[in-house]
């Protein structure tokens, strides 16, 4: 008697469970498919919207002493990097291009901060790959801590007013930087 009842009103459990799981997996796959594997992303940071932490240190590549407060009035890209990090090596050409594009107008500049690396290696790297902007050493990681640097490469875009407007992880691209600059300029 039970069997007869059971076979007449056959539960469609498998069907419903399959549909539910199917929907969930479809959403998951969509999310996974649209994830950008950590390259040139503008991310949130507690620093964004606040005044940039001060930086005043001698440079290691004979560019005199670097003081962040002196940079007010122009855009500044603060680039944390290391020579042993592959995306840093890859973004270097873009940094050179960006620096070159703005030296004439003087409206934007770059400063690099060494993250957990040897000064001699950094000097060799710059000698080989070019780049004449100030490079600051950070022996005790004070600057990295103050700026909340998670890993390299990470760059911060500082507005002429001294406010941090953006944090870029995963290596910068020239076109991306120019676009961001234009965007922030227009927004002001």
């Amino acid at each position: 008697m039970n069997e007869a009842v059971a076979s007449r009103a056959r539960p469609r459990t498998a069907l419903w469970v399959a549909i539910a799981i199917g929907v969930a997996i479809a959403l998951l796959v969509t999310v996974l498919a649209t994830r950008d594997p950590a390259s040139s992303r503008l991310v949130r940071s507690p620093l964004v919207g606040r005044t940039a932490p001060d930086m005043d240190a001698p440079t290691i590549n004979d560019a005199g002493r670097f003081s962040l407060s002196d940079q007010r009035g122009k855009w500044l890209l603060v680039n944390f990097f290391a020579t042993w990090c592959v995306p840093c090596q890859q973004e270097h050409d873009d940094l050179v291009r960006f620096a070159a594009a703005h030296t004439g107008a003087g409206d934007a500049a770059v400063v690099s901060v060494v993250f957990s690396d040897e000064t001699s290696d950094v000097r060799k790297f710059f000698a080989r790959r070019g780049g004449d902007w100030p490079v600051v050493a950070d022996e005790n990681g004070t600057y990295a801590t103050a700026w909340g640097v998670a890993r390299v490469p990470e760059s911060y875009l500082v507005a002429p007013s001294g406010l941090v407007v953006g944090k870029i992880t995963g290596g910068v691209k020239f076109a991306f930087l120019q676009a961001q600059l234009a965007r922030f300029e227009a927004g002001r």
């Binding site: 069997e3 056959r10 539960p11 469609r12 459990t13 498998a14 069907l15 399959a18 549909i19 799981i21 199917g22 997996i25 959403l27 998951l28 796959v29 999310v31 996974l32 498919a33 649209t34 994830r35 594997p37 950590a38 991310v43 949130r44 020579t83 042993w84 690396d117 040897e118 290696d121």
Partner: protein, 665 residues
Amino acid sequence: MNVNASLGTAAVAIGFAASAVGVVTLGVGLRRRQEKLLRLGRTYALVALVGVVASFVVMERALLGHDFSLEYVAEHGNRAVPTMYTFASLWGALEGSIILWTLILCAYTVAVTVRFRERVVDPLVAWATLTMLAVSTFFFALMLGPANPFQAVAGRIPLDGPGPNPLLQDHPLMAIHPPFLYLGYVGFTVPFAFCIAALVTGRVGEGWLATTRRWTLLSWGFLTVGIVLGAWWSYEVLGWGGFWAWDPVENASFLPWLTGTAYIHSVMVQERRGMLRVWNLSLLLATFSLTILGTFLTRSGVLDSVHSFTQSAIGAWLLSFFGLVVGVSLGLIAWRGDRLRSPGRVDSPVSREGAFLANNVLFAAFAFVVLLGTVFPLIYEALKGDPVTVGRPYFDRMTMPIGLALLFLMAVAPVLPWRKASHEVLRHRLLWPAWAGAAGLVLAVVVGARGLAPLVAFGLGGFAAGSACRQLVLAARAARRSGMSPFGAVVGRANGGMIVHLGVIIVAVAFTSATAFSHGDEVRLREGETATVAGHTVTYLGTEREETARKTTVKARLRLDGGQVFAPALNRYPNATQTIGTPSVDVGLRRDVYLTFVEAPKQPGGSVVIGVLVEPLVSWLWIGGLIMAIGTLLALVPGRRRLPTAPVSEQPVTGQVPDDELVTA
């Protein structure tokens, strides 16, 4: 003309062609019911195997011969690396590891066609072979497309390469961990293929499960060993004193293990009573899908991990394949699932069937938690744009209750009879195991363990161990009674299973102990100075510097407890400019003392910072893993021949423990 590149690519192309044509041939043969075409399945599988074996040989030839005209060799080879590690570097990075995967897959496919050669014209076998060839086609396509191992170097051919990632050198565990993992992952393709075949042909009630049972158990065994080896490698090499961080890559290998474990238990219900068919099909389909998802998460760079591999376009391919596999699986279940349920019913929740059903639910919940925790950061960031981290504390907290519940089931299920149990029976059978649990708890308290969760874990562990031992003792008595050798008490599925359970309990206890009760500190020492850290005295004797062509090593010589000298090191590899720490461990049964070299002296003769970590019972993790492996092998030995089982009847089986010793009231 690049000889290796051409030969290799040709071999892969042959493999691809053979698999693809095999799929089409079998498809046509099934549609038109032409036996001649179905018989060709084995031939195509063989040709595919020849192709992938040839590509393996060519790649090894290129690696061992330091042929830097191949991009793979140029990126991962190095003349100074010892031969064994150069051989193993084939599977040390993405493109080469696909060769290994495909090799194992084609070998399994040929094995299936040979094993089932008597039934080669059976549509079930033909569909299974077709599925396996289809999966092979995908992997061959990967090698022809985004993950081409035989890509030639563009531009100048380098004279030497950077060598494998420093973390992957210098440890034999790294050489054997991937092959074991792959033997496990790929092995699950076989039961997956039979699942698809069963669903397509509608023949889920037959013995296809029993015939593939050994394949599944063997694959599960390989996967278990692979995971334990990975944890061991993490412990020995990575230098943080831990072995399991719920890292996305670790989770990726753990997920199919969870569903696979649920399956090997649940399948016993299908064999004995023909029930839980759709559960079993779903678990196997899920296991295979999870291996593909896991490969995607590991290889695509989408998730941050200590084990991160390089990113490439392979992510899109793997994700699409995952989508396809899941789509086909869910589609088949939705279409056929309800019609294929068995007529049997679980009579009572307090029964062996009920316990296995609860087991399925718990393992499914476990897998859900691990999967959710792993992918949640991605989903959250997609929705909100903010990063969020789901780390060890989350996983530990969420999986602990499930783990404890599973320990409880492990204790109770082996004594539960089929169909229905009375409380009398349970109380009688569980008394001694319960006392074993109490003894375990008391022992832990006496030794000094504190904290509710670890103590409950130790108590339940004792409980479960008591139950497993009880089963083994009963099996020994039964063996003696029927005149078998005492060896008969430990072979066969039931007994081997109990030994595996003992291994699991040991691993669980060791995991709890090493995680909850590890303690230590860092200390700065001048040369000759002694300090007491975590109950052990450490004397810093000085540093030693070693320079070879491959690396520069600075070792800190330490005398531990006035006895042996240990030397944790900091290694610097020329092409990586990163210092990698190598720990030095005083291994013991009761505890390991884990020594790390944290900070090198800033000037010669200066002070150093040493890390000392005491981890109780951690060696039992590896011992437990070994016991699990031995138990699996014992379980694979054929026990006494079983009588064939009708779907809803139960059969007494000789040579094993009689389940219903007492009449159930």
